[in-house]
Symmetry: C2
Subunit: 273 residues, 2 copies
């Protein structure tokens, strides 16, 4: 067995950009096992020096480590760049392009991307999250007028994770509403949703998958049975088609992908936090 | 008023990496207003060509647009690269470095970073989210043995958003538990938490901030009053110190920053989704 390849995500702040960027690139290599270490908050020269020294000590002698770094302070970056390994920093590479394009010098202030440079925008995001928790699973229809989008689906098709993700990651006010037997039998929208039809988005999933997920929750129940799952999925699709509601099958998509489709289809402004 | 500078995030998949990277860089420029557009799922040559044509039509004549692109398919990228503007694509720039370092050709398969290449890992993340929802605000102590971390704090110091964020973004099993008057008066841990002391992490916030947030929820109440908030914050800190619980003031930190500190202090393995 070959040794794992060491990967370091270095940042003067949270490390999120370095991880997102680096993991995106590394995901293109299938046959290598990576040992990932994130070292956030490297915001002084001393910390930068001890980081370089530490990586030098623990590094594999034969395979240089891979370094994804995001540091806005040039002095700190100059220290980190001395690490022995493959060093990649988008601030290093692209900030000069942008400074040139804008005819401006950049701020070189850390914590701008995932900190709180704009408190109003940040609070609206927390409001979005609280809204989504309050409007999970049709708990109340009171605030639906405020919703950016309302997900409708049979139970366990992915409404809750998708809603919370869109709230947390994109600051959207997302409600979700279950389709119950009565709605499905009559192929009609729940009364509370009729006036919000333009905001609705449907979720379905594959029969096997729904059966499996429901069986984990309530093994052997009618709720989890194949005929019941088949009935609910077929009726939900009929309902979406009858009422002109766009929908997506969530079985083979991550919540990031589901959310990206919904935001694109509904033309929702998207912030990314 | 000057025109907004146009920014496009192009991706063969969700656009998350392009947005995260691009917004990180743009956050270093304070005096420019940006008009951001995300165009995800550009996964055919036809879509790439029509994207380039569309940007050419809508682009501001005097200021070339800024393009952050993340496409793994070289043919698609070659088309996108013809757009008139400042073009940045980390796959373009860094994949060759990595291929050289690894002595391997990369996969060039889209949807690896924010899709579902590994279903088990993805499901464990959804489990983490469900766990965090189930263990919000001390609803149950039953599953605390499974928790990676348990946040403790007075009401409205940020427990719920931080927990959900760590679950969704990092796949951690996070519970949270409120400190109630009785705990605070006696400076003692809730009974259910005593056996999990190694997992505890405390949150506090500034007095003004707590008073403000609670006042929005219950204006004029004792709960929101300055003396009550002051009492709870002082006692919570005394409790954290007495029981050796690390803690953080959340007032001026985003949930990304709070989470990064907690994961670092508790030495939690962190995935990033």
């Amino acid at each position: 067995m070959s040794e794992k390849r060491q990967v370091y995500f270095l940042s003067d702040r949270t490390g999120i950009t370095a991880e997102t960027l680096g993991n995106s690139l590394l995901s293109q290599f299938d046959d290598i096992e990576f040992e990932r270490t994130t070292l956030p908050f490297i915001n002084t020269l001393d910390k930068a020096r001890s980081t370089v020294a530490w990586i030098g000590r623990v590094a594999n002698a034969t395979q240089p480590p891979i370094i994804f770094s995001t540091t806005v302070n040039e002095e700190i970056r100059a220290v980190l760049r001395t690490v022995e390994g493959v060093f990649m920093d988008p601030f290093d590479t692209w900030l000069p392009n942008l400074e040139k394009a804008f005819g401006l010098t950049s701020l070189h202030v850390e914590g701008r991307a995932h900190g709180m440079p704009d408190r109003n925008r940040y609070e609206s995001r927390i409001d979005a999250m609280n809204f989504s928790l309050m409007h999970d699973d049709g708990q109340t229809a009171a605030g639906l007028a405020r919703a950016d989008v309302v997900l409708v689906a049979p139970s366990r098709c992915g409404k809750t994770p998708t809603c919370l993700y869109m709230a947390l990651q994109h600051g959207l006010f997302c409600a979700n509403y279950p389709l119950i037997e009565e709605d499905l039998e009559s192929v009609s929208l729940p009364e509370a949703l009729k006036q919000h039809r333009g905001k609705l988005y449907g979720l379905i999933c594959d029969l096997d998958r729904l059966h499996q997920i429901r069986s984990e929750r309530r093994p052997g129940s009618r709720y989890a049975s194949i005929p019941q799952c088949r009935f609910e999925l077929a009726q939900a699709q009929a309902l979406f088609k009858r009422h002109g509601i766009p929908y997506i099958n969530t079985s083979n998509s991550s919540i990031e992908e589901i959310a990206a489709h919904i935001m694109q289809d509904k033309n929702l402004r998207r912030y990314t936090f």
